[in-house]
């Protein structure tokens, strides 16, 4: 035992060990709960990990910068995981090739809807211009969205938050919403999840159905390209 528990805490809170352990352990527990509830939408592991870790940081007075210095090793794997999407894409290549045209049409409509709806709603709510610009790219994966936000001189960290909130809400709502519409085409359901809710929607789609996951992954990748071209155009026309 250290004679000074405070010095032990100072050591632990500055090393990646503690924050990696907290991240993995919290996810292991929330993911186990999600499995136990047979992947109930409200048992979303991202949602529950966020408030548990967030609360832990607030209670211990730890800054996000300190936490991220440790947790960045997990964050880093987002890039390799995007590359890994090639494998399910390859395994389902015949299905994907047969649906290229519907995917391109749905990509155009979905990407435009995601941007225009959020800008118009935010304007109707009378939000300040800087916030509207920060919300506009919320349907693409965080790294790309923050880049777009930066190029518009908006607030990239607010963009990151809106990206995460969008992803979590999309992941929670997609299954009940699609069941309600009675659509059973898992290609379309997955594709919509990837367009509206990027990687978190894709993670949800892989939990539900492998084909849905593949189409969500394609949608997420294509939407990252289209949105970075569309957002600057859309805000010029809609926010004059």
């Amino acid at each position: 035992m250290s004679d000074n528990p405070f010095s032990l805490w100072v050591y632990l809170s500055q090393s990646p060990l503690l924050w990696l352990t907290v991240t993995l352990l919290t996810y292991a527990v929330t993911d186990a709960v999600s499995l136990k509830t047979r992947r109930h939408p409200l048992a979303n592991p991202v949602l529950h990990s966020l408030w548990i870790i967030g609360l832990f940081l607030l209670l211990t007075g730890t800054s996000y910068t300190t936490y991220f210095a440790g947790a960045q090793f997990v964050h880093f794997l987002l890039g390799p995981a995007t590359v890994a999407l090639a494998v399910p894409l390859y395994e389902n290549r015949k299905r994907v090739a047969a649906a290229v045209l519907p995917m391109l049409v749905a990509l155009a409509v979905g990407s435009l809807t995601a941007i225009v709806s959020v800008v118009l709603l935010a304007r109707a709510f009378g939000l300040p211009r800087e916030i509207i610009l920060s919300l506009a790219p919320k349907s693409v994966t965080a790294g790309v969205a923050m880049g777009i936000s930066e190029s518009l001189h908006a607030d990239p960290s607010l963009t990151a938050v809106s990206v995460i909130l969008t992803g979590i809400m999309g992941a929670i709502i997609v299954t009940p919403l699609m069941n309600f519409t009675g659509i059973t085409d898992f290609r379309g359901r997955g594709f919509a999840a990837g367009i509206a809710a990027h990687g978190i929607g894709t993670a949800r789609a892989f939990q539900v159905d492998e084909v849905a996951g593949v189409f969500a992954g394609i949608a997420m990748s294509l939407n990252a390209l289209v949105t970075s071209l569309l957002v600057p155009l859309a805000v010029t026309y809609l926010l004059r």
């Binding site: 991240t23 997990v74 590359v83 494998v87 709603l121 999309g170 699609m178």
Partner: protein
């Protein structure tokens, strides 16, 4: 396992270097995805490629393992919400409502377009 991870990282590395060298507005990992896909397709044509990470389900099982826990990878960025609590307290309800409505509208518009387009195109295929 290590060879498979190296191959995935190598694809990403080539992708990142490529987009920076050519200054194209495409995320590096997406180029890496395309490279790995091309490698897997090339393996079908040239069986000699089926060795190391490309043989024996190597890169496939590493990728499946990573994708099975995709949710985990969003947690470090997501915890960043704690930095924005003051802004959420001020405009939080409006932002939450806007994002929720937008995500529902986007999901419905995308899935409806996909289903309509796929039945339209498959009908065209059937007519001689």
């Amino acid at each position: 396992m290590i060879a498979s991870l190296s191959l995935i990282l190598l694809c990403q590395l080539v992708g990142e270097v490529g987009v920076r060298a050519l200054a194209v507005p495409v995320p590096g990992p997406v180029v890496g995805l395309v490279l790995l896909l091309l490698l897997l397709l090339a393996r079908d044509r040239y069986p000699a490629l089926a060795r190391g990470p490309l043989g024996n389900d190597g890169v496939e099982s590493a990728s499946r393992g990573m994708l099975a826990n995709l949710s985990l990878l969003f947690i470090p960025a997501g915890v960043g919400v704690v930095q924005k609590l003051d802004l959420l307290a001020e405009h939080g309800i409006a932002i939450l409502v806007i994002l929720a409505v937008s995500v529902i509208v986007t999901l419905l518009a995308t899935v409806a377009t996909f289903v309509a387009a796929s039945s339209l195109f498959s009908r065209e295929d059937e007519t001689p």
